[in-house]
């Protein structure tokens, strides 16, 4: 039996990728889970495993080709009696007709010889899913009652209006008693959705006014190169972020003592546990974010809500040969600095080796960008929206500092905090950054205040 192998869903939101290498050839025998090809998606290279054991009889993609999630890439002659392990994810399954149907289509008069009150018959309204619509018909959701839901509390006229507008009535929040949905609620839902969509489009730059480029060749020879996927994604997310009204706050942290400690610790540490200033900053920021939860939030303007996150996942910008990647260190507040150092080193190695998965770069609630290893006196990082703040770190310098009686040399590290001014006020930003500086200078403060 020739079975089609498709690109599985590799991560939320990833819809396509570029084949960068094909690891098998026609006629190859493959094991279950053996890598078939490598796919470069947004920011990561993912190995696509074989969902079956068998022999590859056809390869439908070539290196460099762009393929969509779900596309058939190969055909595999499977061996008989191979377990169904590793079925591909993301296949639509037909929902069951609702056996519950609360308050749905009512009773029937009892028929003398058919006393079985079949719950399906009682919910006789339940349409059977899975029948094809005739071509050319607008799609109508044929589910009359959803599994696991109570029937939507809306009058027939409201349900009809929603259907005509293409609105899933089950998504609409009713404003009436017992959540009853009015026609106004349906219209409000449409309005909000449109607003969200149009602001997204504007922010993404998809329809942002862009000027035509001049013909650069008139001033000398040029060369055009396609953007790498990483560059494309970076450009897109930075364009999106740029719509955020941002302010950058500067400060300096005295790391003289901390640096002493770090060097001493590293003398004993194994290479994989090498303690970096970034690892220490992760911990300091985590404690600061607990003290200032609005810096660990996201703004939902559409619903006029601020979303506070209970977990602290911090992204760390990594400079790699392929460009900027931002692996996310999870639950930073739950971990000691030693462990953070190990995880950070691992993430940096993975980033360099292009082994980071999209999942490992998703879900950050705050970001640190440390350019201290390269140099510079200060910079203004850009908030990685929908996060609301980012900490930039520049190179520390020996600086004469007045200690009350004279100037003494202190190792001062410049910090810059860019924040979303819609969510955070300047005074709070100054306090937050000062808090971090004091925590670095006097680590005991972290325990005092946290």
């Amino acid at each position: 039996m020739g079975k089609e192998i498709r690109i599985p869903e590799v991560s939320d939101g990833v819809v396509k990728g570029t084949v960068i290498s094909v690891s098998v050839a026609v006629g190859d025998k493959v094991e279950f889970d053996q890598t078939l090809l490598e796919l470069e998606t947004d920011k990561a290279v993912v190995a696509i495993p074989s969902p079956f054991a068998g022999t590859i009889t056809e390869i439908r993609v070539a290196e460099g080709e762009s393929v969509a999630i779900g596309a058939v890439i190969m055909v595999c002659e499977t061996e008989p009696l191979v377990g169904a392990a590793g079925g591909r994810p993301g296949l639509a399954t037909a929902p069951d007709p609702d056996p519950k149907a609360v308050g749905a289509a009512g009773g029937r008069p009892g028929l003398a010889t058919a006393p079985d009150p079949d719950p399906k018959a009682v919910g006789a309204a339940g349409g059977r899913p899975g029948l094809a619509m005739s071509p050319g018909t607008d799609k109508v959701d044929l589910e009359t009652v959803r599994t696991g839901d109570e029937v939507a509390p809306a009058a027939p006229s409201v349900r009809r209006a929603a259907r005509e507008l293409g609105v899933d009535i089950y998504q609409v929040k009713g404003s009436g008693p017992a959540g009853r949905i009015s026609e106004e609620d349906v219209k409000a839902y449409v309005r909000e959705t449109l607003q969200r969509l149009s602001s997204d489009v504007a922010l993404r730059g998809g329809q942002a006014p862009s000027r035509p480029l001049p013909d650069f060749a008139q001033w000398g020879p040029i060369r055009r190169e396609p953007l790498s996927r990483v560059r494309e994604v970076t450009a897109e997310s930075m364009t999106y972020a740029w719509a955020t009204p941002m302010v950058t706050q500067f400060d300096k942290a005295d790391i003289t003592d901390l640096e002493e400690f770090r060097k001493r610790a590293n003398a004993k540490a194994k290479p994989e546990a090498k303690l970096t200033m970034t690892a220490i900053l992760l911990k300091v920021c985590a404690v600061a974010l607990r003290a200032f939860p609005q810096f660990n939030s996201s703004l939902d303007l559409g619903r006029s809500e601020l979303i506070y996150k209970d977990t602290i996942h911090i992204g760390v910008a990594a400079d790699t040969p392929r460009g900027l990647l931002v692996p996310v260190i999870r639950d930073v507040d739950q971990k000691g600095i030693e462990r953070l150092a190990v995880e950070l080193n691992e993430a940096a190695a993975k980033a360099r080796d292009r082994k980071l998965t999209p999942d490992e770069m998703a879900g950050g609630s705050f970001t640190i960008s440390n350019l201290g290893g390269i140099g510079g006196t200060n910079f203004t990082p850009i908030v990685y929206s929908p996060q609301v703040a980012i900490l930039g770190v520049s190179r520390a310098e020996q600086t004469p500092v007045w200690n009350g009686s004279g100037f003494g040399p202190r190792l001062m590290m410049p910090l810059s905090l860019t924040y979303d001014h819609r969510v955070i006020d300047g005074a709070d930003a100054a306090r937050f950054l000062r808090w971090i500086c004091e925590g670095i200078a006097q680590p005991i403060q972290l325990l005092m205040k946290g």
Partner: protein
């Protein structure tokens, strides 16, 4: 409405079956601008509902109610002589009612410029019908879309002999005579309604029901409102009893009955009414020549727009399953007709009222207590006996109960049930409450007219103790 003009060989929409589902679908589709051909074997549309079901049975039941009402008016100081019943005149009146309605439908067929074929139709393939007219001529009719509404028919008692004394509901409604003793096989709504009519006309009626209850599926407290009356009205009600055999003699039918203990007895009846359920008319339609799928009970599988597995062919009414009720067919008919006309229609009723016209009537919609218990759903229930209702007292009939089921958390109305006089009329408010997603408080704050039976809904809603 027979046509002598040459029939077209092609239809934009053909509707097969002229019952409540079929004619409403045809009318609706015509109003939406489709060219419609309606096929039915009767001279005028009407189907079982008008010719052999709802309408004639309600005509007889009204006559029965008048007789019963007169008989119980003595406490008001009104004593009537026992009525003289002219069965022929009653039959004629009933038939006139049916004719008035079906002729009205025939007129509407003409007014909406439908093509009406007095014929039967069978699918040759998914786009062609073989139409056999009542005069025996055959023709082919191709179509773009079709709505099938061939309805259902009574289930016969297996092994019962063929005899005019052994009737189904159609035979009983013909009202050939008023038998001295009538055996009703089946304690569902059809058996109880027709049994009630015959009892009022003077038959001694016995009901046998295989299960342990009348009106299976209906809440017991509602049934008991009716049972009180039926125990007096009928000679016998034998539950958990089955008919082992029916044997026809020259003058009577000998029925051998056996109860759940295995005790058998023999009784004779002048007539027997078999009312043990209905089955869909899904044979002989040529479904096998299409991709249309039937379920194991013979019902056509349809989606939320009543499309079959052939997306341009719809099925509606009794053909698509329970509840086999005319008003359910109306609703499906409108959805199918609208979908055929390209509208985004969907069949998604929140409640389909069920009504048993047995004086007292029983009607309910949405969730019942029985279902709530089966499914483990928490409900808050308000039950109001009619004893204190002013209107019921003035009618001299306080036998009744009104019941409302709400979600205890949200107060949303989940089900309404009424047992008593006029329950079929009262339930409409409950269905509206379900469709509008009303909460108990909505009913409690709606002014109801006084003095009426509808106040029982108002008062039951007050009992729920909303805000």
């Amino acid at each position: 409405m027979t046509e002598s003009t040459p029939e077209p060989a092609h239809a934009q929409l053909v509707v097969i079956g002229g019952g409540p589902g079929g004619y409403s679908a045809a009318f609706k589709a015509a109003e939406l601008g489709l060219q419609v051909t309606l096929v039915d074997k009767e001279e005028n549309p009407g189907g079982v509902c008008l010719y052999r079901g709802c309408i004639p049975s309600k005509a007889l039941l009204h006559a029965a109610a008048v007789i019963e009402e007169a008989a119980v008016s003595t406490p008001m100081g009104l004593t009537f002589a026992p009525p003289t019943i002219d069965v022929d005149q009653l039959r004629t009146w009933k038939n006139e009612v049916v004719q008035t309605l079906t002729k009205g439908l025939g007129t509407k067929v003409g007014r909406l410029k439908l093509t009406y074929l007095q014929a039967t139709a069978q699918f040759l393939d998914a786009h062609t019908l073989l139409v056999t007219k009542t005069d025996g001529t055959e023709a082919r009719l191709t179509f773009e879309q079709a709505i099938v509404a061939t309805g259902s028919r009574p289930i016969a008692l297996p092994g019962a002999p063929t005899s005019p004394r052994i009737m189904d509901s159609t035979g009983a409604l013909d009202l050939a005579d008023v038998p001295a003793r009538l055996l009703v096989v089946g304690g569902g709504y059809i058996g109880l309604e027709l049994g009630t009519a015959y009892a009022a006309l003077g038959s001694k009626v016995s009901v046998v029901e295989m299960t342990g209850e009348l009106l299976p599926g209906c809440d017991r407290d509602l049934v008991s409102v009716l049972k009180r009356k039926l125990d007096k009205r009928f000679e016998a009600i034998d539950l958990k009893t089955k008919v082992v055999s029916l044997e026809e003699t020259e003058t009577v039918v000998l029925a051998r009955l056996e109860n759940h203990k295995g005790e058998a007895r023999e009784e004779h009846f002048e007539r027997v009414l078999v009312a043990i359920g209905r089955r869909p008319n899904s044979e002989g339609v040529g479904f096998e020549n299409t991709a249309i799928k039937l379920d194991p009970r013979g019902f056509v599988e349809v989606d939320g727009q009543r499309r079959t597995a052939e997306p341009h062919i719809y099925a509606i009414g009794d053909l698509t399953g329970d509840p086999m009720l005319a008003h359910k067919a109306y609703a499906e008919a409108h959805v199918a007709a609208e979908a055929a006309a390209g509208h985004k229609s969907l069949y998604d009723p929140r409640g389909i009222p069920a009504v048993v016209f047995t004086n007292p009537d029983i009607a309910w919609c949405g969730l019942t207590e029985t279902l709530a218990a089966e499914q483990g759903l928490k409900v808050k229930v308000a039950k109001l006996p009619w004893r204190s209702n002013g209107r019921s007292l003035t009618l001299g009939d306080t036998n009744g109960m009104t019941k409302i089921l709400v979600d205890p958390a949200s107060d949303r109305v989940l089900g309404v049930a009424v047992a008593g006089r006029g329950a079929g009329e009262l339930i409409a408010e409950g269905v509206l409450a379900l469709e509008m997603a009303a909460v108990g408080e909505d009913l409690a704050r709606t002014i109801h007219p006084h003095p009426t039976l509808s106040e029982t809904l108002y008062e039951a809603a007050q009992m729920l103790g909303g805000k």
